[in-house]
Symmetry: C2
Subunit: 202 residues, 2 copies
């Protein structure tokens, strides 16, 4: 049995959960929810000094993070479906797509934190614009060359779906109005991959 | 020939440069410095919609990011020295050490941005304490079980050295006073690996 420290709203936790479900490993995971809005959660701090979720705790107590490392570990445990190609440019392009979607999440999370941790007078328009620009540019980039839906999602797809799901959950889904190709892609992902709905934040 | 978009002060760029030097690939890199303090650098934006450095541009124009993906790509081009073990728990523990050091850099960079992007009245003590706690906990964790110096640094070592170098450069080296084992480790790294000094921010 493995333990996953996560939180229902975390997009980084969601990509790990979707990965575990696609690999048939989810029932070997005990998910423990961590409230990261409070400083210094002792359970999390003892497992990851960065105090970030997700953390995967293996049966022997070994901790793994961050989400990319956890996903690659889970991918290595079971042969099929392969979510990260083993080698070659297809591997690096898959990892790049994951890094792009991770960056989308990072910017979206920083915007939430700007609201959560600061009273209104201490919120910076320049900082907000900087993060929003990362989101807008990345969505425009993806919209111009949207991922093709093959029916077999890879690690890049899983991460992107989790990032877009977070924009729906925490940013009111405003991205949908001007990114029809991405909206269509996410619709196909959600219809085909039941793990997406099963891991949605409520 | 490959192009690396980076900046002299970037710890994420530094780990890529050290990796390239250890792999004997640095003279195949043309390093282009990007000023990320200004919004929307057009060169960077065209190559990475997240507008983050480093970006590696391959001879055929393919862009790779983030720094972990670039380091793994460079590691794949030349057999020796192997910086990221190919498989097994030793691989995941190396990647975890890299993720820990990346998180150290992220928190240290966010503290610099708190100063750079906000006038004093808009700086948050709670936010600063949150990031400082990540740094302090991670350093304490590493100090309690410092990496062993084998003479053959791996990806985790390279990333950690770059993170500690950034704490020296941007945070006045205050970490040194109470982490003697890490100070000794970084001293050995710097003495043995000339790429460390060669990539130091000036």
């Amino acid at each position: 049995m493995m333990t996953l420290l996560s939180a229902p709203a975390s997009p980084f936790g969601r990509k790990v959960k979707i990965t575990a479900k696609l690999k048939g490993l989810f029932d070997q995971l005990s998910v423990e929810n961590i409230d990261t809005s409070q400083p210094a959660n002792p359970v999390l701090k003892a497992r990851n000094p960065l105090q970030k979720i997700p953390v995967l705790i293996l049966a022997d107590g070994t901790e793994l993070y961050d989400s990319q490392v956890i996903c690659e570990y889970l991918d290595s445990l079971v042969a099929d479906p392969r979510l990260i190609p083993a080698s070659g440019m297809v591997r690096f392009k898959t990892l790049r797509r994951g890094a792009l979607a991770d960056g989308l999440m990072d910017a979206a999370v920083l915007l939430v934190y700007e609201q959560r941790f600061r009273p209104e007078a201490m919120r910076s328009e320049a900082w907000t614009a900087r993060q929003q620009s990362k989101i807008d540019q990345t969505l425009a980039h993806l919209e111009a060359q949207p991922p093709e839906w093959s029916g077999q999602p890879d690690y890049g797809d899983i991460t992107l779906a989790s990032a877009l799901g977070y924009l729906d959950f925490r940013h009111g889904g405003r991205w949908r109005s001007n990114h029809p190709a991405l909206v269509a892609w996410l619709g196909q992902f959600g219809q085909s991959i039941s793990a997406f709905d099963e891991t949605a934040p409520r």
